[in-house]
Symmetry: C2
């Protein structure tokens, strides 16, 4: 059964006035219109949202039904920051079951009205109880991974800075990005430490936003084809991971996606990967097979992942500069890859992009969803 993405919708990411429901509805209506459909054409819906602690709102399936003014079979899906990719996977399974023809997937998060200390505590809910009790924060967990990568592979702060400057440069050409601010390597290196060796400009921001896609098994539909999808959950406790500089969930999910697609890393022309921290992009670059293990830092610094390079990563600006409204992120990645494969990205278009990949991770990389699309 061929599945195609026929519609995409995406709000601006940033510090926004709209409510959670406003953001969700806005992205959904844009995606439905983009697919040339009406609300009545949707057979089933999946909603990605990370935490009800931000705005105190659960039960988004009924909120979506209310907003669209129709009865619908809607389901909320959560696996920390991988919620968006996972909601897309559940839509794929629903279509493959044969019980539905056209699915809506929307991801949404409203984070910026929450006090930063509370947000840090809420985000820590994606870590293990032991890590939470010990006071771990996500910058701290990713800093451990960075330190391990530095020691094992000689990766440097300068190489991480290359990820940040690239993604900020890309976001300059994305009008929906949270930040449109060019930054230099010196800016990154001089920014204040958050959890050494990670500094402020190694970290993605807290953002509001929503993204939506329409995916269908309609054989007459014209759209971007899903080629493969893979998913994995591993230990939530980072300290149980044999190699702190690795993300086994990404390797496994990637292998599953490549196998289903019948493709290899060399076939990928463009990818959106989960740069919640610069070190995360480096490790995923390796786990997805775009470079050798341990070479992710030098690969980024070489320009291979920049626009015009061997495998442009995060042309949208990534989580780092486009923003990271948690539940929306995985769906936003798919929106960008679909637009790249449609060839409608204007001055951030990756030339001749025929095959694209999305990698969405949760927590410290203990869950991951990888999806591959082609024209």
């Amino acid at each position: 059964m061929d599945l195609r993405v026929t519609g995409v919708g995406h709000t601006r990411f940033g510090v926004l006035d709209q409510t959670l429901g406003d953001l969700m509805e806005s992205a959904v209506r844009e995606a439905i219109a983009d697919a040339g459909l009406t609300v009545a054409d949707i057979d089933v819906a999946y909603i990605a949202n990370f935490s009800d602690s931000f705005v105190g709102q659960c039960h988004l399936p009924a909120l979506l039904s209310d907003r669209l003014d129709r009865e619908i079979e809607a389901t909320r899906v959560e696996s920390a920051c991988a919620s968006g990719g996972l909601a897309f996977k559940e839509a794929v399974l629903a279509l493959k079951s044969g019980m539905y023809r056209t699915a809506l997937v929307v991801g949404v998060e409203k984070m910026t009205q929450t006090a930063p200390a509370d947000s840090t505590r809420i985000l820590a809910g994606a870590a293990s109880p032991q890590e939470i009790e010990a006071g771990a924060t996500f910058p701290g967990l990713f800093a451990l991974m960075a330190r391990a990568h530095f020691e094992a592979h000689g990766t440097s702060e300068e190489q991480l800075a290359a990820v940040a400057t690239k993604n900020h440069a890309n976001a300059l050409r994305n009008p929906l990005a949270h930040f449109q601010k060019d930054i230099s390597a010196q800016d990154v290196l001089a920014s204040r430490p958050v959890a050494s060796p990670l500094k402020l400009l190694d970290c993605s921001p807290l953002s509001d936003g929503a993204a939506a896609v329409i995916v269908t098994s309609d054989p007459g539909a014209d759209g971007i084809m899903l080629r493969g999808i893979g998913h994995a959950s591993t230990d939530i406790r980072l300290y149980r991971r044999p190699d702190l500089a690795s993300m086994p969930s990404v390797e496994i999910a990637g292998q599953r996606a490549y196998e289903m697609a019948g493709l290899s890393p060399d076939d990928i022309d463009v990818a959106e990967i989960h740069d919640c921290f610069t070190i995360a992009e480096v490790i995923q670059t390796e786990e997805l097979g775009f470079c050798a293990r341990g070479a992710g830092g030098s690969f980024a610094a070489s320009g291979a992942t920049s626009m015009g390079g061997r495998i442009p990563l995060n042309p949208s600006g990534g989580l780092k500069a486009k923003g990271h409204p948690v539940g929306a992120t995985g769906v936003s990645q798919i929106v960008e890859v679909v637009k790249q494969l449609r060839g409608v990205c204007g001055d951030r278009q990756v030339k001749d992009a025929g095959v694209g990949l999305c990698c969405n991770i949760g927590g410290s990389g203990s869950s991951a969803v990888v999806s591959i699309f082609s024209r």
Copy 2:
């Protein structure tokens, strides 16, 4: 493709010492053992959990993987109090996709360590933003529904009390129930008002607990067969419902389940339905076709829904007396119906039970999942 439930697990419900992870793991390991399987035999997992606000824990897919000490494709599903039934539906879709053979479904909630006022606020997150802002609580919303039912259909407080006394009587024979306390109609009527006409003994409690099932498409498996499943989400705002004494989501989900099963209400021998408040059982009895619209109160008072009656409802004790750990509830209903159809319920066994139904609702009945099983 035939799907069968081959294993069930269920912790005690109540005020428990175990953590969220302990409860989840306990139910899961029991279900896997009950199915005669090992952890390695599980291909995909679904976790129902309502709110991360109770214990600050998200990312249960990775927590499950950690607890089972293996990589797994796990997804958390939420639609308020319908999360458990919905997680089961997602497992059904995953199996019907053909990508997996054996699925684990676990529902869990840890509520009792939270201060009651905080719990009331967290539970209100299943209502609409407008209702939350107006200070609505779920007892208040269901009280409105009760009042509407009283006015439209002449239903009385005494008839609601019959639901409570029946479910408490049933729970006396369920060693896993939160309450083992026989109550009289007079006890119910004399209990303190919570939101008139609902009194304390019209309301289900806050509970801790977990329940799990194994469902498989393995054609060689021996188990209880899934005959039909239906799901619906409607307006989250109760005040938009044309008839406050109705639950359209239950009627729609029920019709979908009956149609898929090729069965009618007359074929059902036993049912677990969502008695978060006594009025909820009355309305669902009608929406599921067990009695005429408006007749749910007198039907309960007649003894038709008691053990030995025409259609025994909630032999487990229901949410009212077995307890209501929100994420676990929908899965717990399936556990009970499977046990009834296996004929292993001892002195709470419904005689000759051949076909059973579960009805799990979310919020004020704005989402619903109905499933039907047979021997």
